[in-house]
Symmetry: C2
Subunit: 147 residues, 2 copies
């Protein structure tokens, strides 16, 4: 069984045990989220869904994403212009955003993040509950095309 299928079933199970209704719209959105290895935005998800569910509305996408956020199963990457969502790593982690191709990569830096969070808490007496660490620049691919 593929990872995305496992993730799909995990999310479905979560919804079911949380006593939320399993509507076709939700199932489809969850399927897409589990299948996506990237960081889709609400409107990207909406456009994909519209193919199969022409009646689906953007508001429903937002509602369902909010639901999954509440359940802690989706991380909202709240960028200034429009948000993107990560349904596979629903905990804060750094993102590397290419300023040329707009690709969003995950930064696997658990140790470094833990260190810097600890430093902030110690130096400033701040109790950190979540964080958003975004690095903007050029991804390896776009550096090669150098232009």
């Amino acid at each position: 069984m593929s990872d995305s299928q496992a993730r799909f079933e995990q999310l479905i199970a979560k919804l079911r045990t949380s006593e939320y209704r399993l509507t076709p719209q939700r199932v489809e959105l969850i399927r897409l989220i589990a299948a996506s290895d990237g960081h889709p935005s609400a409107s990207e998800l909406y456009n994909q869904i519209k193919v199969q569910f022409p009646t689906m509305s953007l508001a429903t996408v937002y509602k369902t994403l909010d639901l999954l956020k509440e359940l802690g199963e989706v991380l909202e990457i709240g960028l200034r212009d429009d948000s993107h969502y990560d349904g596979n790593k629903p905990y804060p982690h750094p993102h590397l955003i290419c300023m040329k191709c707009q690709k969003i990569m995950d930064g696997e830096l658990e140790l470094a993040v833990k260190n810097i969070v600890q430093e902030v808490e110690q130096n400033f007496g701040f109790q950190i509950l979540k964080h958003q660490l975004d690095f903007y620049g050029l991804c390896p691919d776009c550096q090669k095309q150098k232009e």
Copy 2:
């Protein structure tokens, strides 16, 4: 001479040498930005200015902030809902944002930031041009009020 006055004159000089016009509106905005030790938002600045310049429009605030951004004299802290601006430290630095009182503090962590940026560049081959590091939680004051 106070720091804010020095900063004010520095910004005025920068505008003048950049061959931009020194309008009363710009002078007043710059005065406020230099005087603020915090991280005002566009509308906060607008509300302060309106007292003296009732005709000032919000668009003008944005235009002037954009101008100062271009000159590299103001840092935009692009939060999801509305942006805030820092006219005294116009280079990327971490921010600590209190989820209760909404206060924004600066994180002075130059070494730690340099380290994590370096780690990102090495581990992922990403060339980092700027970053935005936001830590959300409870400031010392709000922790004391524990509620």
